[in-house]
């Protein structure tokens, strides 16, 4: 590949990386994406179709700008998005125009603007990759451009140019990181804009009904839908918790619906519990529903007591997000947004204190209702398993154990006319909705009030008290009404099949990505002045570790030791550089070494060259003066020049021979009676 082609390729890739940093936000219009990537593909093939008519093609941008303006004026497109789209299209036009110093600079300048646009639009970890890719490709392209502009017709190997630049890039990235963490995080907070969603579409969602049957594709989806910080920190790597979304109390044989009045449920939260800290058995949650969640239903740990401080996060910024209660104890945000943030308190599962619960007679009756035409074998089976116990919790546990023992878990189910009967008596396999439905209805046949609950199960630890829940953790279970204790969760699904069923490899890869994403969010996106303050304070005065932390302390040296080692290393490197300058450096060319030996010998005999006089000039001068050394110096000088510049290297032993001849002449000069050396 020619150096010019390589430079243009790097330039085009830099533009592509910059546009990619905006594209990952998923907010740019599709037609913009299509036009830009088409132009980029054509440019990468080395084709420049706009080269012959740059002005005409530039004029095409005017109607595009007008279209974008109209979209903004009509409220269909955000102003920042319009600006980013237009930048992308200008870049596309420049990519397809004739290359040259002017257009190169314009492409890279627009690319830099697009990177700034990407920073405003996206908070994804991928942005960092695009940023580094842009920096590398743009810098290398600029470096090649500078050398090529200087070289004109003289080619310079790109490898020679790229090597020192690459090293510089590493230092630039390191410097950028240092600047980011150390520069005081001052902000006027004018025109703040919350970065939007990342690539991909929402994967889950809550509907008003739960239909039995079908294939469970959701269980194999490893995308993260929820991130929660829990206080106190459960310290478990995997949570065994139920995150409830909504409940269902009516079943018609094929699907579950909810009949609960929303207004009554809205008042059920105890006012005393709304004050944080009043309830010692509570778990505090700071929940962020991520864009992959794709629903407005709030997700809370079981037995929620209080929800508040809810915020909707959209590209326009943060806004308060009011929520209202829907049927089935569902809390739902009234405004659509990419993601939501809220605080909640839930009763701890092991709390001994009961939650006061009052049910209306019709509500209690609904919790015992059975679908018309329910197969009598269901009740018979339930009776057989439950035995004679009158304790609803004990009955639920017996039924759950029976179902877990006798039935298999599968995500591949064919459509059946009566899914419950098909599950219980035909296939004897199903997924969590089948297990939960079966348990709920079997309890009802024995007179125990119960209902179906849906939400998520589990949670993976990703940081101090921080857990994530995946789309594959979507789950259904049963609430059985226990007198004096309220609704108690009983899960009939085998424990190994409750959480995500995604491929282990995919899950591991995604876990790595999400760990990086989590680190990215906590260390970069949400980095604040307070974090800076803590960072500096810990550097100056490291916090005293608590005994438990000391037990868990890593065997690695503390951060201060690393810092000292780094400083010592830097000092050693500086000392080495200093010494290297003072010590005689290795001569790159043998001829140079040879002539320096000759010069030293001449100097020892008092034959010093004048200021600025080269050895060949010295030789000529001595020859013109008829100096006795001239006869031996002349061939030496000639051979030096031939070896150094004439591509005729010294033969083995030739340098020694020439130097010996010179030495003989010098010895004669030193003898008494010989003419004094010229100055």
């Amino acid at each position: 590949m020619s150096p010019v082609r390589l430079r243009l390729l790097l330039r085009d890739l830099a533009s592509g990386a910059a546009f990619g940093s905006m594209a990952i936000s998923g907010q740019l219009p599709v037609w913009t994406l299509a036009l830009y990537f088409l132009a980029l593909a054509v440019a990468l093939l080395g084709l420049r179709p706009f080269a012959s008519s740059p002005r005409l093609t530039a004029a095409l941008l005017v109607p595009v700008a007008a279209t974008l303006y109209l979209l903004v004026a009509a409220g269909q497109l955000d102003l920042v998005l319009a600006a980013c789209s237009f930048a992308g299209l200008i870049s596309a036009q420049r990519l397809l125009s004739a290359p040259g110093p002017g257009s190169d600079g314009q492409v890279l300048l627009i690319a830099l603007l697009m990177i700034a646009g990407g920073a405003a639009l996206s908070a994804d970890l991928l942005f960092s990759l695009f940023l580094v890719a842009f920096t590398a490709t743009a810098s290398l392209s600029m470096g090649l451009g500078v050398v090529q502009a200087s070289a004109e017709s003289e080619p310079v190997p790109p490898r020679r140019v790229l090597s020192p630049l690459s090293l510089g890039l590493v230092f630039a990235v390191a410097g950028a990181v240092a600047f980011f963490f150390l520069f005081p995080r001052l902000s006027w907070n004018v025109g703040a804009r919350r970065p939007g969603a990342s690539v991909g579409v929402a994967t889950t969602g809550f509907s008003d009904t739960v239909q039995l049957g079908g294939t469970g594709v959701l269980k194999s989806n490893p995308r993260t839908v929820l991130r929660a910080s829990l206080t106190p920190d459960p310290r478990a790597e995997r949570l065994e918790s139920y995150w409830v979304g909504r409940t269902y109390d009516a079943f018609n044989g094929r699907e579950w619906t909810s009949t609960t009045s929303p207004m009554r449920r809205a008042l059920r939260l105890n006012p005393e519990l709304r004050q944080p800290g009043r309830w010692r058995d509570q778990v505090t949650q700071r929940v962020e529903l991520l864009p992959a969640y794709g629903s407005r239903t709030l997700i809370l740990l079981e037995q929620p007591l209080y929800v508040g401080n809810s915020t909707a996060l959209s590209p326009a910024g943060q806004q308060p997000a009011p929520a209202q209660e829907a049927t089935g104890e569902e809390l739902r945000f009234t405004q659509p947004a990419a993601s939501y943030l809220y605080s909640a308190y839930s009763r701890r599962p092991d709390s001994p204190r009961p939650v006061p619960l009052e049910l209306e007679p019709q509500e209690r009756a609904q919790l015992l209702s059975l679908p018309p035409g329910l197969d009598p074998r269901v009740a018979a089976l339930a009776r057989q398993v439950v035995g004679g116990t009158q304790d609803p919790l004990e009955a639920a546990r017996r039924l759950a154990e029976y179902l877990q023992r006798e039935y298999a878990y599968t995500l591949e189910l064919a459509e059946a006319e009566d899914p419950l009967v098909d599950f219980l008596f035909v296939r004897k396999a199903g997924h969590c909705e089948h297990f939960a439905s079966a348990l709920t209805l079997m309890l009802r046949t024995q007179g125990f009030p119960s209902r179906l609950a849906t939400g998520f199960f589990g949670g993976e630890r990703v940081g101090e008290g921080t857990y994530i829940v995946r789309a594959g953790d979507a789950h259904a279970w049963t609430h059985v009404l226990v007198p004096g204790r309220g609704f108690v969760t009983v899960d009939a699904t085998p424990s190994s099949n409750r959480s995500s069923q995604a491929s282990p490899l995919l899950e591991r890869l995604l876990a790595l990505y999400e760990a990086a994403e989590e680190r990215w969010r906590s260390s970069v996106i949400d980095y604040t002045f307070r974090d800076q303050f803590n960072f500096v304070r810990e550097l100056v005065r490291p916090p005293r570790q608590r005994p438990q932390e000391e037990e868990r302390r890593s065997s690695l040296p503390p951060a201060r030791a690393w810092g000292v080692a780094l400083l010592v290393g830097a000092a050693a490197y500086a000392a080495w550089l200093l010494l290297a300058r003072r010590l005689p450096a290795q001569r790159p060319v043998e001829a140079t070494r040879f002539i320096e030996v000759a010069e030293r010998r001449l100097a020892s005999a008092g034959l010093h060259p004048r200021e600025g006089e080269s050895v060949e000039e010295l030789s000529t001068r001595l020859a013109s003066q008829g100096h006795p050394v001239a006869s031996s110096l002349a061939p030496l000088t000639r051979r030096y020049l031939e070896a150094r510049f004439g591509n005729r290297p010294l033969r083995p032993g030739e340098a020694r021979h020439l130097l010996r001849t010179l030495e003989r002449s010098l010895e004669q000069l030193r003898r008494p009676g010989s003419p004094p050396p010229s100055p």
Binding site: I115, P164, G168, A172, F179, L186, A585
Partner: protein
């Protein structure tokens, strides 16, 4: 700072203001990267210029107002140098040379079209080396002290006046004052020009051809001229005279004549050939710069 560099700095300030306005951490990250690139650019430029050795090779002849090929030799012991431009510093010489790539241990000879504005000696004190490496945003310059003297010859313009009469008597390289017949074998015949010596006519051939034909020999006639720069001239008049004498000397020497030079306080005996022309030009270059000449001689 180059034009691209100014744009870069403006954009960096814009990103900085954006970061301050919005508090967007990613903009802070971009700002950090932009600032780091400025620092890295400075360091790489510095490394590019560090350890660079320069030797002035000069030019064969420099005429006032005429571009000439001026040369320097760049070398470095370690590391590579990129996108270098070199020019004389602090002197009225226009033009600079470019060295795209200087390898370690190899001399790179840079050539430049350099023009000196005036005749006379120019004391060269330093060489200015500039690089746009690595990004072309900022130009880093280093001035390397390098003493030298450049003697600028007078411009060889058009000689308005014809030369004075040729010298009589045995002067210069000729043993006779006039040797109009030329020497050596007959080289050819050509039509006799106006005011040319009729004794060179080849009568037989002329009669055949019907016009006067002159015999040309291997070595044509050589006259001896003494050109003069009169004393007392200064300023433009002196410059004009030097230029005219230089032009005249060039014309006469090209024609194979012997030319000498009579200067105030200095006389060059007549001679022929390019070496004589060089001597004449050097003498003319020093006219009016006696003080500088004494300093150089000292």
């Amino acid at each position: 700072m180059t034009r691209a560099g100014r744009t870069y700095v403006v954009l960096t300030v814009g990103v900085g203001l954006g970061a301050l306005n919005t508090g967007n951490n990613l903009l802070y990250l971009v700002l950090g990267l932009l600032l780091s690139m400025i620092v890295v650019s400075g360091v790489l430029s510095e490394r590019c210029l560090n350890g660079l050795r320069v030797r002035r090779l000069g030019a064969d002849a420099v005429y006032a107002g005429e571009p000439c090929s001026f040369r320097w030799a760049l070398s470095r012991k370690r590391g590579h140098g990129f996108a270098l431009s070199i020019a004389e510093h602090g002197v009225p010489l226009t033009g600079e040379g470019a060295a795209p790539w200087v390898q370690p241990g190899v001399d790179y000879v840079v050539r430049a079209r350099v023009t000196a504005p005036r005749r006379g000696p120019i004391r060269l004190g330093a060489v200015r080396i500039t690089t746009l490496w690595p990004l072309g945003l900022f130009a880093k310059t280093r001035v390397v002290p390098l003493e030298g003297l450049l003697l600028v010859y007078p411009r060889r313009g058009y000689a308005c006046r014809d030369p004075s009469e040729a010298e009589q008597g045995p002067v210069g390289e000729s043993s006779t004052a006039r040797r109009l017949d030329g020497t050596g074998d007959v080289a050819g015949l050509r039509e006799l020009g106006p005011q040319e010596d009729a004794r060179r006519v080849h009568w037989l051939k002329s009669a055949t051809a019907g016009k006067l034909l002159k015999v040309e020999r291997e070595r044509e006639e050589r006259l001896t001229y003494m050109l003069t720069v009169p004393a007392g001239l200064t300023g433009e008049a002196l410059e004009h005279q030097c230029e005219e004498v230089a032009a005249l000397a060039h014309r006469l020497l090209e024609a194979g004549h012997e030319v000498g030079l009579e200067l105030p306080g200095e006389r060059l005996r007549p001679g022929a050939g390019t070496a004589q022309e060089r001597r004449i030009l050097q003498a003319l270059a020093w006219v009016g710069f006696d003080k500088e000449r004494e300093e150089v001689a000292a």
